[in-house]
């Protein structure tokens, strides 16, 4: 149990997939302009991550590995992720058309969110069990959520009228991501001695 908690905290904070490993920056910057879209985006990403992680884990251990087809894994995993995203998109469109419009292109783009492929590849590379893979995926999703919620609130606070013209909008947002990554860098090493 303790090691599962450690995996969760490590994926969410110490090795945050966005701010420490720099994966998934595109939806991170793209959907953080409005605070309202961040929580739905996090839930969608976390759902895709969890389903895709479990599916790719089973696919790898019961189909690819027994037949020596590991070299096909990136293609196979992307197909699995795309299917998960399609399913999520259909669900969001039916459940909340407004939310579907707010998330726009970024919802289908979860397919190409490298954090999702990154998590499933890391889980397979490290030979994590099914339970650990699921916890890693949930932790990565939670870490994405922590980062994007904080980032959206920071972006709201930045007063664009006061910012020098060339830096308004995305440029200063990227400077802000840099400082956020700096803050998370301070957590480096925590939990490393405990066999994560």
């Amino acid at each position: 149990m303790a090691d599962l908690l450690l995996i969760l905290l490590s994926a969410a904070l110490v090795n945050n997939f966005v701010l420490v490993q720099f994966l998934g920056l595109c939806p991170f910057v793209g959907t953080s302009a409005r605070f309202e879209t961040t929580v739905p985006m996090t839930l969608a990403t976390m759902f895709v991550l969890a389903v895709a992680a479990v599916a790719t884990n089973l696919l790898h251990h019961h189909l690819l590995a027994p037949f020596g087809l590991e070299y096909l894994r990136i293609i196979a995993f992307i197909v699995v992720i795309a299917a998960c995203v399609q399913f999520t998109e259909l669900f969001v469109r039916a459940a909340s058309p407004l939310l579907h419009r707010m998330l726009g292109l970024y919802l289908p783009l979860i397919t190409t969110n490298c954090a999702v492929l990154g998590v499933v590849l890391i889980a397979v590379d490290e030979g994590l069990s099914l339970a650990r893979t699921l916890v890693l995926a949930i932790g990565a999703g939670a870490g994405f959520g922590v980062a994007i919620v904080a980032f959206a609130a920071l972006r709201e606070r930045i007063n664009d009228d006061a910012v020098p013209a060339p830096l308004r909008g995305v440029p200063l947002a990227l400077v802000t991501v840099g400082f956020m990554a700096l803050a998370f860098h301070g957590l480096r090493g925590i939990g490393a001695g405990m066999g994560a």
């Binding site: 904080a150 200063l172 400082f179 803050a183 860098h185």
Partner: protein, 303 residues
């Protein structure tokens, strides 16, 4: 006749009092660590004046620096946090990142989202770990390093070493005591409310007390040690109390202070950086807009 105990509201007045409060730690630092500590302060102030002038000039304002006195406060905080044995150009880099990137780019005073001093100091901590390594021939390892790399020694054995003083780290304990005295002055002149400093010190002391473990070889240091080591007192009274980057609601201030204190302890005890103050404050700053947003949502106003 000036009423020195009236609650000040204008930024230059507040910052003048913060500068008065910082004079004591600067003097003690110079007395304990020698001229290098003063040189860091002077270089940091000069760099701060230069960077602020250039930024003001670039934005078509009067290029006269230090008008609101917030930049010299940032410079002195960076210089005090810097180990005196570090090269002087590190102070210049830290001030540049803190004043230009973390403050002026966001529109200047009151518009920054991160504490400028800690943003600049954290950046050089991350970028130049070698230049900042606390061990060198003249000062030896600091207490925070000695505590972590002491092997199987107990606290009492290790704290007999040259890196330890009466209360905390050798030398640093006196700077911390001076910062505490300056902080008490700020409380008296009502520049700072007692809530945030107390929350930071409790947040740092509580986990230290829980893990103190009666001074065994696994102990991570007593609360008193942590309060008087590194930049603890500066963080509690001068950095966490920054009105721009700390949350506004009282409950959220408790949460912020306790969180920053606990993060300082966690990074010192388990992280790979010698002192966690800068990173803990930045992580706290990250939470501030979310907390202020919650407050605005609760009271039904626009954020």
């Amino acid at each position: 006749m000036i009423n020195w105990f009236a609650k000040p509201t204008e930024t230059p007045v507040i910052m003048d009092r913060v500068l008065i409060a910082l004079a004591l730690p600067v003097a003690v630092s110079a007395w304990v660590f020698g001229p290098m500590a003063l040189a860091h302060c002077a270089v940091a102030l000069a760099a701060g004046a230069g960077f602020e002038s250039v930024c003001r000039f670039a934005r078509n304002r009067t290029p006269w620096p230090f008008a609101d006195r917030s930049v010299p406060v940032t410079c002195l905080l960076i210089a005090l946090a810097m180990p005196p044995s570090a090269p002087l150009w590190l102070s210049v880099v830290a001030v540049g990142i803190g004043v230009v990137l973390a403050k002026e780019l966001y529109g200047g005073l009151g518009r920054n989202v991160f504490n400028p001093a800690m943003a600049g100091y954290a950046a050089v901590l991350a970028a130049y770990p070698q230049a900042l390594a606390h061990t060198d021939a003249t000062t030896g390892a600091t207490a925070l390093d000695a505590l972590r790399f002491r092997g199987a020694m107990t606290i009492d054995e290790a704290s007999g070493g040259p890196a330890f003083g009466v209360l905390g780290g050798a030398g640093f304990e006196w700077v911390n005591a001076a910062a505490l005295a300056g902080g008490v002055y700020l409380l008296l002149v009502r520049v700072v409310h007692w809530r945030l400093p107390l929350a930071v010190l409790v947040g740092l002391g509580l986990p230290a007390a829980i893990f103190h473990d009666a001074g065994s070889s696994a102990s991570l240091g007593s609360p008193v040690f942590h309060w008087f080591a590194g930049a603890s007192m500066l963080a509690a009274f001068f950095i966490a109390t920054d009105p721009v980057t700390a949350p506004r609601a009282a409950g959220h201030q408790w949460l912020f202070g306790l969180g920053v204190g606990a993060l300082v302890f966690a990074i010192r005890a388990a992280g790979s950086h010698p002192d966690g103050v800068a990173f803990a404050v930045l992580l706290g700053n990250l939470a501030t807009p979310v907390l202020d947003r919650l407050r605005a949502a609760r009271s039904g106003q626009a954020p």
